[in-house]
Structures are given as structure tokens and as C-alpha cells.
């Protein structure tokens, strides 16, 4: 396929698997908002508003995590249930374009939630520079969790399973660890464990950029995040098989 055709291909996948479902069924958008913003709301009221910045950092992390992991559920359906992936495999569409297209479709679903969150962060006085830095962190975390989604989709024997795994991992990654709270409030012995989780690093970076102070040095946070992104990509490239065995 020529580069031009590849672009058309990518666009078609994003348009029909991202935009179109989002516009036809706004519940998809509501679903992305639901849990992260519920937690944000609880933090907000329970703290009389003072924990709002933590809530924002947490929601941003959770939305991004969800979007990445949705890729796993969707890919599993396209492969197991719709057999759409079969049609794609036996066609000129390259695996990379397909994967990228599906991943970007999820980002489209999440765009409204991300826009609201960035708006709220700006409202909290985050500078343009820190918003840009946060966007970079969102992208890195998105690549990590999307790879995780790819990875699980390759193992899911059926769509129900994929859905359960997805929910479970979302909670494990974005509610349990210090995502909606500071890593400093954890008992000391737990801190090293928390610090190797990419969502902890991402949230710590968000917390830093919106003026809560860096509980983890931004450099080490960034390095851990980058490393986990690389690790996930490598893992996925080993595991993903376009053609079945």
C-alpha cells in the first residue's frame, strides 16, 4: 500500500470505529466520564474542595488508562465476535495501521473527557507549559496502557473475559495505587511498589504540573514512565501475532 492509501486506511478505521459510534451513541462518552469523574466528585465534596487538584490528576490518569485498555476489549470483539480482524488480515491493510487506527478510535471516545479535564486544570491555574507537559504525559501513559490492552486482547479467549480483565486492570492500575492521592501518604514499605507502577508516575507528574509539588522527582517519574512504555511495546511486539498459529 502506498503512503496515501495507508492514510486513507487509517482514517477509515478511525472514522467508522471511533467517530461514528461516538456520535451515534453518546453513552460511550458518558461511560468514559463515569468512574473517573465520580471519584473526582467524591474527593471534591469529601475534602470541601481542597483535594480537587488530586482528583484532577487522578481523573486524568484514569481516563487515559481506560482509553488504553478499551483497545483490548474492542480488539477482542473485532477478532473473536465480529471476525472483522479476519477481514483485515486478509486484506492490504497493514497490522500497524489497523492497531493504530483502533487505538486512535479510543482516543476519539476519550477526547471529550480529556478536554474537560484540561479545561479544569487550566481553571486551577495550570500554565500553558505545564498543560503541554501534561499532554506529553497523557500520550506516554496512553501508549503504555494501549500496549497493555493489545497484550491482553491477544490472550482473551472470548469477549466476556476481555471485558472482565479490562475492568479489573483499570481498577488495579488507576484506583488502588497513588493516583487519586499522594504517594507520600502510603506506608513507607509500600512506596517502592507503588513507584514501579506507571500510573503512579503519571499521576505524580500531573500532580506536580498543577502545583501540588513533585512527590517523585519529575525526571525519575518520566524515566520510569518511558521505560514502562518501552517495555510494554516490546512485550506486545513479541506477543501480537497477525497470523494465527
Amino acid at each position: 500500500m502506498s503512503a496515501r492509501k495507508r492514510l486513507r486506511s487509517l482514517w477509515a478505521i478511525m472514522y467508522y470505529l471511533g467517530f461514528t459510534p461516538m456520535i451515534r451513541n453518546p453513552l460511550f462518552i458518558a461511560f468514559v466520564f463515569s468512574t473517573p469523574f465520580t471519584l473526582l466528585f467524591i474527593l471534591f465534596v469529601a475534602s470541601n474542595g481542597s483535594a480537587l487538584p488530586y482528583g484532577l490528576a487522578g481523573a486524568l490518569t484514569m481516563v487515559t488508562t481506560e482509553l488504553g485498555l478499551f483497545v483490548g476489549t474492542d480488539l477482542a470483539s473485532y477478532k473473536i465476535q465480529n471476525r472483522f480482524q479476519d477481514i483485515v488480515v486478509a486484506s492490504p491493510v497493514s497490522p500497524l495501521v489497523y492497531m493504530f487506527g483502533v487505538a486512535l478510535s479510543e482516543l476519539i471516545f476519550g477526547a471529550p473527557a480529556l478536554i474537560v479535564l484540561f479545561g479544569l486544570m487550566a481553571g486551577q491555574g495550570a500554565s500553558v507549559v505545564s498543560l503541554a507537559a501534561s499532554l506529553g504525559v497523557v500520550l506516554l501513559l496512553w501508549v503504555t496502557t494501549t500496549s497493555l490492552g493489545f497484550f491482553f486482547s491477544a490472550y482473551a479467549p472470548n469477549t466476556q473475559n476481555a471485558f472482565i480483565i479490562n475492568g479489573f486492570i483499570t481498577t488495579l492500575l488507576s484506583v488502588l495505587p497513588p493516583v487519586y492521592y499522594s504517594v507520600n501518604v502510603l506506608p513507607k514499605f509500600l512506596v517502592p511498589f507503588a513507584e514501579i507502577i506507571p500510573t503512579t508516575e503519571a499521576s505524580a507528574l500531573f500532580q506536580g504540573t498543577i502545583g501540588l509539588g513533585y512527590s517523585i522527582s519529575p525526571v525519575s517519574g518520566f524515566v520510569v514512565l518511558l521505560a514502562s512504555t518501552m517495555l510494554m511495546l516490546i512485550l506486545v511486539s513479541f506477543r501480537m501475532r497477525w497470523r494465527e498459529n
Binding site: K5, R8, A12, L17, T20, N82, I87, V89, R243
Partner: protein
């Protein structure tokens, strides 16, 4: 030119001992409609999936359009399209979205894709439902959407795995018309089906596969005629038991009667005997359906005897 050449193609799925394809040899001419018949689990889907670069063979090779399906998969994928068995429509896309998604994903420019999508929808009489949510469609309509996705691509060779499953007779013929049109356009069609009349009406050549092996091959007529000498079928409704019918030919019990596949002499003898006994019988030429049951039954029996 050959559109497909499989040599000693074998597939043993992980966690399974029986091969799904067992040293299968097969050649298919280009520009033909070629049909694969075979019982459930015979290996038809496995073959189609390997030839269309979706599945790795265990051993042997398959060349499609002159390209090795394993080593030259990337080039081959530029030239093929498939309709998978038991595919489902995608929520909340409409039939038109499905067809457009496939055409545009394959790199066609927007306007061209739109025009072709309309043609594909008209081809299978999906025009009226073209813009409704596919979830609301009946089973047969959904199946037509899946088939429509493959009808107007640029592919030179199209694999269709049970494309007419669940379709009423009118719509099955509509699918046949489209496959015939594609053939006229110079494309090669490889399909599987369980409908013998479909195989007979459509195919230039066909094979019957049993347990991963080809057990009969040729034109529908030649498979019907030459693979078995049993050209006549006698349905016997009463006054005979199965074992005594065995001496006239191959006798099976179907839906409360016995069906005997036999040659003309056997049919005559059996007819005389039936008249003598006052039994109800009906004579007719064998159909591909009968041949299928006969051949597959025989092949399975031989294999069991070998063990």
C-alpha cells in the same frame, strides 16, 4: 494459469492430535468459481484461512496467485478479499458503513468507495436497509451485509466461507449472480458451502474434503457421474429392510425410508422386486447430495477400516 496450488498442505492445531488438513494437494485454475464441500469439521475453513494468510500451516505449502501464502503474505494480501464464516456486524454501524469501511480501509478514495458501496448494496438488495443500524436486521440480512463487504473490492481472488448460510432461496440466487458476475470480470472465486445445489449451479470445479483430505474432485457433473457408478437413486418406502436392500447398491436410512444408490441394472432389479412385493418406490437420478453422502461415508469407513 493456476490461481492456487497446495502441496502436501497439513495443519495440526495445537492441543489437537487429529490433523485438520492432512497432506492435502489441490490446484485451482484462475478465473473460476471453485467450491469446497465437506462435512462439519472436514477442514474447509482451515484451508481457506491458511490460503488467505490468516493461519500458519504446520507443513506443506500453498501458493496463491503465484505467491507463497506464508513467505509472500504481504504481497498476496494486496490481491485478496474474504468473507469469513460466521462473521457478525459491528455495532452501531449501518450496512453502508460496513461496506464503506472495508472499501476505504483498502485504500479506495472516498467518492469511488461511495459509488461502489451503493453498487454492493444494490447487488444484494440491501438498499432499503442501507442506513439503519445493523443490529435491527434479520440474520439473513446481516449475512448479506458481510458478503456485500467483499463484493466490490479490487481483489483478484475472493475467498468466501459459507457465504449463503442462512439466506432464503431468492437471496442465495442473488449471491450466485454476484459470484458469477465477479467471475465474468475475470476474478477467481473460492467458496465453501453445504448446499449441493449451490455447488452444482455455480462451480466450474469442486472438491469434496473429508478429514482434511480430498476425496473427490472435478466438475460437478464428473463428480456426480464418474466418481460413483451409482447413477440412480431408489427411495423405498415399505416392505423391505435395510440389509436386503444392500445387495442392490448402497442403502441408507433417511427420514423413515430407505434410499438406495445404485446403477441402472440394480435399479431395474430392485424395481422388479418392488413390483412383485407391491412396495412403494420412487426412482430418480442421483443428486450431488447423494454423491456427497456416499463418497464421504465411504471415505470415512475406509479410514476406520484401516485402523
Amino acid at each position: 494459469m493456476k490461481a492456487l496450488r497446495a502441496v502436501q498442505l497439513t495443519k495440526v492445531y495445537r492441543k489437537s492430535k487429529q490433523p485438520a488438513l492432512d497432506s492435502l494437494d489441490l490446484e485451482i485454475d484462475s478465473g473460476q468459481i471453485f467450491t469446497m464441500l465437506g462435512r462439519n469439521g472436514a477442514g474447509k475453513t482451515t484451508f481457506l484461512r491458511i490460503a488467505s494468510t490468516q493461519l500458519m500451516p504446520t507443513s506443506g505449502s500453498v501458493e496463491v496467485l503465484g505467491l507463497d501464502a506464508v513467505r509472500e503474505a504481504k504481497q498476496l494480501r494486496e490481491k485478496i478479499a474474504i468473507t469469513p464464516q460466521e462473521a457478525e456486524t459491528i455495532y452501531p454501524l449501518t450496512p453502508r458503513d460496513h461496506v464503506l469501511l472495508n472499501l476505504r480501509m483498502r485504500g479506495l478514495p472516498k467518492e469511488e468507495a461511495k459509488r461502489r458501496a451503493q453498487e454492493a448494496l444494490d447487488d444484494l438488495e440491501l438498499t432499503e436497509v442501507a442506513d439503519v443500524n445493523s443490529d435491527w436486521l434479520s440474520g439473513g440480512l446481516k449475512q448479506r451485509v458481510i458478503v456485500a463487504m467483499a463484493l466490490r473490492t479490487d481483489a483478484e481472488l475472493i475467498f468466501l466461507d459459507e457465504p449463503s448460510i442462512g439466506l432464503d432461496p431468492v437471496n442465495r440466487r442473488r449471491v450466485w449472480d454476484q459470484l458469477t458476475r465477479l467471475k465474468k470480470d475475470g476474478k477467481t472465486i473460492i467458496l465453501t458451502t453445504h448446499y449441493m445445489d449451490e455447488a452444482e449451479a455455480l462451480s466450474d470445479n469442486l472438491v469434496i474434503v473429508s478429514r482434511g483430505k480430498v476425496v473427490a474432485a472435478g466438475t460437478p457433473q464428473s463428480v456426480r457421474a464418474s466418481v460413483t457408478q451409482r447413477t440412480t437413486r431408489v427411495d423405498v418406502y415399505d416392505k423391505f429392510n435395510q440389509s436386503e436392500l444392500g445387495k442392490y447398491g448402497h442403502a441408507v436410512s433417511i427420514a423413515g425410508r430407505f434410499r438406495v444408490l445404485t446403477d441402472e441394472n440394480g435399479a431395474k432389479d430392485l424395481g422388479d422386486e418392488a413390483v412383485a412385493r407391491g412396495a412403494r418406490v420412487a426412482l430418480s437420478p442421483v443428486t450431488l447430495d447423494d454423491v456427497f453422502v456416499d463418497i464421504v461415508g465411504e471415505a470415512e469407513k475406509e479410514e476406520e477400516d484401516e485402523r
